[in-house]
């Protein structure tokens, strides 16, 4: 219960506890204190010392309380006395005041009586004054009416607006009193003047080029002259239309003529940049359109049945013009300029869109299309860039090295390639980000918030680029190897494999994170390609490339071995004194490949080796083993034994897949190449018939390969096993199988 203490204190004691606490008579401060019980308790429970102490304490407390009480008494006594004095003083003052109030009431009554008298005396004169003022006003009005025609005539020429105002004021009165002949004459006259004015205004409306303000004024006046609104609105629109057409024509004049024959002739670069164009378009055309539409609304009310199609048609033409202009923006140009232009376009259009809601979608579509188009162009530019980089790499690989001077190493090339591609991608993202910058108005469109980020940038640019990269890389492995087209150099395959692998390991997730940061996708947005799917693609491409690399390099070495076996006369050969040159070449080539692969790939794990795998120990190992392998196959009486032996050996060794996928490390790659080479040697030897020295040559060659190749392979037993098979097959294919003394073989190999 303890831990709940604070909580209980907060919520007050529970009822149960209150009931329990209430009747505690020993609480000296409690309401139920019972001195008897307390005393009994104390007497019973406390030892003498404590009792004495308690008594002293109680005495002290009582004394303190007594003195406190006395102090309080004194203080309160003083206050009571001063209060009594105050009350007494108040009683005296009130009696005074009553008398003065009575005086005041009497005076007030006298004042009101005299005031009544004065006003009665003045009333008559006041009425007459008012009457006179009325007559005066009437007369002035009449005067004005009489003057109306004259004024109208005077103003109609120069200040039609003033004339109108004047006429409007007079009209109601004139109409009211038209039964009086004099008024009638005035009315007729002014009517005639106004009709004349109307006629003049109409001519002006029809034939003159008015700027929008004048046009509005003119139509407004005509409306006030009660000309038919229907007809006027039509006139207004046709006049406005002519003006807007002229502006559109001016814009169009800047565009190269639409050439139906197509893109054969590239139009010359437009004279002004896009920002300028949009600027002019928006200030001239959009401004005027807005102004006119606004005037139309104020003039002809909210009924926009006629205005909307009119404005929509014009806006559509404007959009078309703009799109044509945007289409001229080929190449990459300056994206910030484009963004600013689009932004201005969108901002200026917003005013128009308030009047014309239907155009909003079209305008947004124009902007979105332009943005999308730009992103697509960036994708193409990226692809071109990548191909350019690849071209550079190929060139660097193919460039003849001056002797003694190493060209740029593969890691450098890879780093340059990866860095420049990534840098370019980042730069492109930065450019594209301008489209969604906060200060750009259209960035707040739902399209730019959601779909643009996801569909256009993430999927359309980033994902598409990575996919394309993987596909292109794969293309080097899939395409040209067939049918003898110029194949990619092996180093390039290796480089691309590493690049794809790096993409799978880190670059893709980095790029995607970067993209998602810069272009945050909406939760409800369309589904995106997940990173792992891309990674898988990159990995597949890397695997394909590396496998292809192994096959190409393996095939090169194998071809060398095959030719060397096929072209040699194995029957008539002389006793071997040397390792054949081709074997040295094979070892050299494989060492070169090892260096090449080692530049880009990790070492990889070898199968756990026995401690005797060092070179010297290895040869001991093989020599101790070799007789066991060779001996039975040379005992002529037992042809079955060899089979039995090799079959038993095979039972315990794993099946070796020659052209199998390799892992992403040096050892695995090298093992793959060595397997392909040695298997080729095996198959080729089996197709030949060897003489005694032929066999011995194979023996020497095999031993030499064993000496130098085991350290490249992940499992030296693979090399050992294949070479054993070569030796066994050679023995089978030999007419006179007398093997060379092992020490001699070793000696020849040592000698090189």
């Amino acid at each position: 219960r303890r831990p709940h203490g604070p909580l209980q204190r907060y919520y007050g004691p529970s009822t149960a506890e209150a009931a329990e606490a209430a009747p505690d008579p020993t609480d000296i401060n409690g309401p139920h204190f019972d001195p008897e019980v307390f005393m009994t308790k104390v007497r019973n429970e406390c030892p003498l010392g404590q009792l004495l102490a308690r008594e002293a304490a109680l005495g002290r407390e009582i004394r303190a309380l007594d003195s406190d009480m006395q102090t309080l008494l004194y203080e309160n006594y003083n206050k009571f006395i001063s209060a009594t004095d105050t009350i007494r003083k108040m009683k005296v003052d009130f009696r005074h005041m009553e008398a003065e109030m009575d005086d005041l009431a009497a005076n007030m009554a006298a004042i009101s009586a005299s005031s009544a008298r004065v006003s009665a005396a003045l009333q008559d004169r006041h009425r007459r004054g008012a009457q006179l003022a009325g007559v005066q006003a009437l007369l002035r009005k009449l005067q004005a009416l009489v003057e109306v025609p004259g004024r109208l005539r005077c103003w109609a020429g120069t200040e039609p607006a003033r004339a109108l105002r004047c006429h409007a004021r007079a009209r109601a009165v004139l109409r009211h009193y038209r039964h009086l002949p004099s008024f009638r004459a005035i009315e007729d006259e002014s009517h005639a003047i106004m009709a004349d004015l109307a006629r003049r205004l109409r001519t002006r409306l029809r034939c003159e080029k008015l700027d929008p303000k004048e046009l509005t004024e003119c139509v407004e006046m005509l409306l006030q002259l009660e000309e038919p609104a229907e007809e006027l609105s039509e006139e207004f629109l046709s006049q406005a239309g002519a003006r807007l057409e002229a502006e559109l024509a001016a814009l169009e004049a800047e565009l190269p003529a639409a050439d139906p024959s197509g893109a054969a002739t590239t139009p010359p670069p437009p004279a002004s940049d896009i920002l300028d164009f949009v600027d002019r378009g928006s200030s001239a055309f959009v401004g005027t359109l807005c102004q006119l539409a606004g005037s139309y609304r104020t003039l002809f009310g909210e009924d926009t049945g006629r205005l909307e199609p009119f404005a929509a048609a014009l806006a559509t033409r404007y959009f078309e013009l703009l799109e044509r202009r945007l289409a001229l923006e080929r190449g990459l140009g300056d994206t910030s300029l484009l963004v600013r232009a689009l932004d201005r376009f969108h901002r200026r259009l917003r005013a128009l869109l308030e009047l014309l809601p239907a155009g909003a979608d079209a305008a947004a579509a124009v902007v979105a299309r332009a943005a999308r188009e730009r992103v697509d162009r960036y994708l193409r530019a990226l692809q071109t860039f990548f191909l350019g980089c690849l071209g550079d790499v190929r060139q660097a690989l193919a460039a003849p090295r001056p002797p003694g001077k190493e060209g740029p190493g593969l890691p450098d090339l890879l780093a340059t390639l990866a860095a420049s591609v990534l840098g370019q991608l980042k730069a492109v993202l930065a450019y594209v980000q301008l489209f969604t910058a906060r200060d750009v108005a259209f960035a707040s469109l739902p399209y730019f918030k959601g779909e643009f980020c996801v569909t256009a940038v993430r999927e359309g640019l980033v994902v598409a680029f990575v996919r394309w990269l993987c596909r292109t890389a794969r293309g080097f492995a899939d395409g040209p190897a067939e049918r003898g087209a110029p194949a990619a150099p092996p180093a390039l395959l290796l480089l691309l494999a590493r690049l794809c692998l790096d993409y799978e390991n880190s670059t893709i997730s980095y790029i995607l994170t970067l993209t998602d940061e810069q272009f945050p996708p909406l939760d409800s947005g369309p589904a995106v390609t997940p990173g792992p799917a891309l990674c898988a693609e990159a990995r597949a491409a890397a695997q394909r490339l590396l496998d292809h690399y192994v096959q190409v390099q393996g095939a090169a070495v194998a071809q060398m071995l095959r030719k060397s076996v096929e072209t040699r006369d194995w029957l008539g050969t002389v006793e071997p004194r040397n390792v054949r040159a081709v074997m040295k070449r094979v070892v050299e080539d494989i060492t070169a490949i090892d260096v090449q692969v080692g530049q880009l790939f990790e070492e990889g794990v070898r199968r756990a080796q026995s401690s005797d795998s060092s070179r010297r120990a290895f040869s001991v190992y093989s020599s101790s083993r070799a007789p066991g392998r060779y001996a039975p196959s040379y005992t002529p009486s037992a042809p079955m034994d060899t089979h039995l032996l090799s079959n038993i050996q095979k039972l315990f060794s794993e099946r070796i897949d020659i052209f199998s996928p390799v892992e992403f490390n040096k050892v695995s790659v090298l093992t793959g190449i060595i397997k392909i080479s040695l298997k080729t040697l095996l198959e080729c030897v089996r197709l030949r018939t060897l003489g005694r020295f032929g066999l011995q040559q194979v023996q020497v060659d095999g031993h030499y390969l064993q000496l130098y190749l085991w350290r490249f392979a992940s499992d030296e037993r693979v090399v050992q096993g294949l070479l054993d098979e070569v030796a066994a097959s050679a023995a089978h294919r030999c007419l006179d199988p007398v093997p060379m003394e092992h020490s001699v073989v070793e000696l020849i190999c040592e000698r090189g």
Binding site: R483, A555, M640, N647, L651, I658, H732, L735
Partner: protein
Amino acid sequence: MEDDAPVIYGLEFQARALTPQTAETDAIRFLVGTQSLRYDNQIHIIDFDDENNIINKNVLLHQVGEIWHISTSPADKGVLATCYNKTSDTKVMTCAAVWRMPKELESGSHESPDDSSSNTQTLELLCHLDNTAHGNMACVMWEPMGDGKKIISLADNNVLLWDLEESSAKAVLSSSAALEGKGQLKFTSGRWSPHHNCTQIATANDTTVRGWDIRSMRQIYCIENAHGQLVRDLDFNPNKQYYLASCGDDCKVKFWDTRNVTEPVKTLEEHSHWVWNVRYNHSHDQLILTGSSDSRVILSNMVSISSEPFGHMVDDDELSDQEDQHQEEKIKEPLQDSVIATYEEHEDSVYAVEWSSADPWLFASLSYDGRLVINRVPRALKYHILL
């Protein structure tokens, strides 16, 4: 009894040459030629008793040398041709000869294996194909469905057409053609097309596949770089006259339409080492058999480029109602190409695979260590194709 289990037969010697007894259409019989440099070589006649799953063998001695290629006459069960190595101390020459086996072995004798091994018999030499002027013989082909009078042999860079006269006792070279070009050209393999009245053959040398018209002895088509590396073997589709399969050292099997040789129609990449042999099934050309030095035999179902891309068509006269047929065709989707089975009974490189001439559902494969394995097409697939 497990009916689909493979039957394995072991030879004492290494072997590369395998052929069905082409003229035999009732009994399942294969001929295997051995390779041994130090002992007398043999031809094993393997009789397979399908019902009891028993193998009977007869052994013929082939004393002239190790056998690199063997083929049997399509007309006479007793006649066969071999390519063999004749070795002297300094030289190896591959020759070819036509042989006749003893009469009693032609249609298989059902002796017990123990007896037959004791009394081995010898082949009777009919004639040599004289190749002294032409080089090493790579293979001998019989005219398919012919009367066993015409054979073609490939010797180094020559195509040689022979007529067998006087009941095969004499081989007369009737025409020949030589492949000219830079370098040392050498045919590795060839097949005689069963189409066009047997007037075409196809040969392989290095990475190239060539077609020849044997009437004019001229080249009629040429697939340059058919494979990335050496082409090892060819076969004609028995039912589609322009279709050809090839295989080679790039581990691929490719299918060609000889009318358009720029691109293969299909490519299979299932093996993990050189593919030495490719064979169409004689009756159901969607079944493709390949043998490879990765010690595997793969049976593939290439329905999409077979003569029955929609499965087995029922003949019109078997159908009572035409409308039924229409409905049936609609239901049948084009089948998918697939690998049916991979056979891993071999432990050494497989250099030869052959379908039986008698039973279309049965095939044999031979690996270098002398192991012959007889397998059947899986039953489910067999019924799927038939029904």
